[in-house]
Amino acid sequence: MPEVLRDYLRSPPAVIGLALLLLVIAMAASAGWLFPRDPLALAGRPLVWPFQNPRFWLGTDNSGRDIAAQIFHGARISLLIGLVATAIAIAIGVVIGAVAGYCGGAVDTILMRVTEAFQTLPNFLLLLVLVVVFGSTITTVTIAIGVVSWPAPARLTRAEFLSLRNREFVQAGRVLGLRDARLIFGEILPNALPPVIVYASVVMAVAILLESALAFLRLSDPNVASWGNLIGLGRDVLRVQWYVSAVPGIAILVTVLAVSLVGQGLNDALNPRLKRR
């Protein structure tokens, strides 16, 4: 592990990504302490420009809510939705990919058909359908994002399983009489997991972007301080007070950039062979 860490810290983009990610995490952690009031409560005059009033250093939005408070609390929402949706997507993807890759045959065919169906249907469209059916509270939106994001991890897991399932250590386990579930989750999965975990960073980056797009279209939960919500609100006053949309967009950009840089850094550190390219 220290070697991986040293490899990781040697790459400047990876270090920048880590620093940015820590910054966003710090924002999320300190939100309740720096802005103890409800971020969606009225705080002052509407549409105060940034750096005009020391009380609202990022200004206020159309209805007089503190933008800085919404940015800090929004970091919590984005990270929370990103992490939970990613966990859901990876969990579904790993189980389906593992079973398909391990069993092969008809089971594999059926599961891959389902995966293909999910990949053929544009995932944002499926997200819209899910929101129509199950409503748009933060819980349903998070689950829906997880549900539309699993096919890629499933394919990745399946590919790993296909290459691992006939190795000696698996055959040894089979000879010892281990049950299938034990072989899949106890023996093969730990070896198949590293590339999937690295890929989780891509899933998380996309999940954060999906949530913000949904919130921008006002189809996400309006009762939480989400960056996408704020951009959607700012659209009404875009002509003059463009900063209302601009500020949260930068927050999303920084977060997604941080997540993908960290993912790439991890990937390079774990696969030193690829790094030299």
């Binding site: 983009p13 058909r113 389902v114 293909e116 169906a117 990949q119 053929t120 249907l121 544009p122 995932n123 944002f124 469209l125 499926l126 997200l127 819209l128 359908v129 899910l130 929101v131 129509v132 059916v133 199950f134 409503g135 980056a205 972007l209 913000s212 797009a213 921008f216 279209l217 189809l219 996408g228 951009i231 700012g234 659209r235 875009l238 002509r239 463009w242 949309s245 601009a246 949260p248 967009g249 999303i252 950009l253 920084v254 997604v256 950039l257 993908s260 840089l261 390219r277």
Partner: protein, 325 residues
């Protein structure tokens, strides 16, 4: 001919996928609160229960779910997508009206992303490790992380509001309804910002893939042979490397077709373009489930069609594919 047969087989294999999508989404929409009749009654400003019952019978909504599904699929075979009560037209007509704008936007965004992704990827790979590479790779990372709708809004602020170079939305200017070449120019002007907005994230992906695959191919033996024959570097890249390095890019188009269609929902909403994506958004807001299901069907068809074309192009670029099977 062999190529067509192969691609045709792939096309036939996508039929079960299409059926799976339709049945899945149809069953899913059964759980949606409110049906078409509820939406119509709301549109009419309310009505009594007897009218609702009558309407439900008229639209076959009083049948059991399997029967409704059977009816729906049977109508689909005859290319009848049902009736949109919100627009007061058959769903097929509503979608046909909106499809051209989306196809135009997607084609433009794809061409933009593919062309500049290719050029930037080649430039980055040629100067690997030096400042052009660093600059292009950094730009790629930033573009990848930029939310498209936000980029669109900021582009409107800069190019439409401050500089007033380009229109902020719509597909064409109705006040100066021109004909022929002027109309084409007008539509092109309206599509510049949406194309950039939708294409940005794909540009980032393509340039990254192109750079990686260029680097891989540049190290292969046949490139060394070409160089040792005395070919100059431009010829080596254009004639020998490019064709091989293009393969992953082409695969990616097929994989990303769905993502691009999903992205157009947001982009068309930002620029109020009358396309399929905006229709999807409107039917979600208005609970027009028939139209939504129709859009799901047409989008899946579109993705399958793109993949069919990609198969053909791929086989053309890589002759080994046809002899292999």
């Amino acid at each position: 001919m062999r190529i067509l047969a192969l691609a045709g087989r792939r096309l036939a294999a996508s039929l079960p996928t299409l059926l799976l999508i339709l049945v899945g989404v149809f069953l899913l929409l059964q759980f949606a609160p409110g049906d078409t009749v509820d939406a119509m009654m709301a549109q009419m400003g309310g009505g009594d229960a007897a009218t609702a019952r009558q309407l439900r019978r008229f639209y076959g909504l009083d049948l059991s779910v399997p029967a409704q599904l059977g009816n729906y699929l049977w109508r689909l075979v005859r290319l009848d997508l049902g009736f949109s009560s919100i627009y007061g037209k058959p769903v097929a007509t509503v979608i046909a009206e909106r499809l051209p704008a989306t196809i135009l936007l997607m084609t433009a965004a794809l061409s933009f992303a593919f062309f500049f992704g290719l050029v930037l990827g080649v430039v980055a790979a040629r100067g690997v490790g030096r400042w052009p590479d660093t600059l292009i790779s950094t730009l790629g990372l930033v573009f990848y992380a930029t939310p498209s709708f936000w980029f669109g809004l900021m582009a409107i602020v800069v190019f439409s509001i401050y500089l007033q170079w380009l229109p902020a939305g719509g597909l064409e200017d109705i006040t100066t309804a021109g004909t022929g070449i002027w109309r084409t120019i007008d539509i092109a002007r309206h599509l510049v910002l949406p194309t950039l907005t939708l294409g940005l994230i794909f540009l980032a992906i393509y340039l990254r893939i192109m750079r990686a695959s260029m680097l891989e191919v540049l190290n292969l033996d046949f490139v060394r042979t070409a160089r040792s024959k005395g070919l100059d570097e431009t010829r080596v890249v254009v004639r020998h490397v490019l064709r091989n390095a293009l393969l992953p890019m082409v695969t990616l188009i097929g994989l990303q077709a769905g993502t691009m269609l999903g992205g157009s929902v947001v982009v068309e909403s930002v620029f109020s373009l009358p396309g399929l994506g905006r229709l999807a958004y409107e039917s979600v807001i208005q609970r027009d489930l028939n139209t939504l299901l129709g859009i799901v069907f047409v989008s899946a068809l579109l993705v399958i069609a793109v993949n069919f074309v990609v198969d053909l192009v791929y086989a053309r670029l890589d002759p080994r594919i046809t002899t292999g099977t």
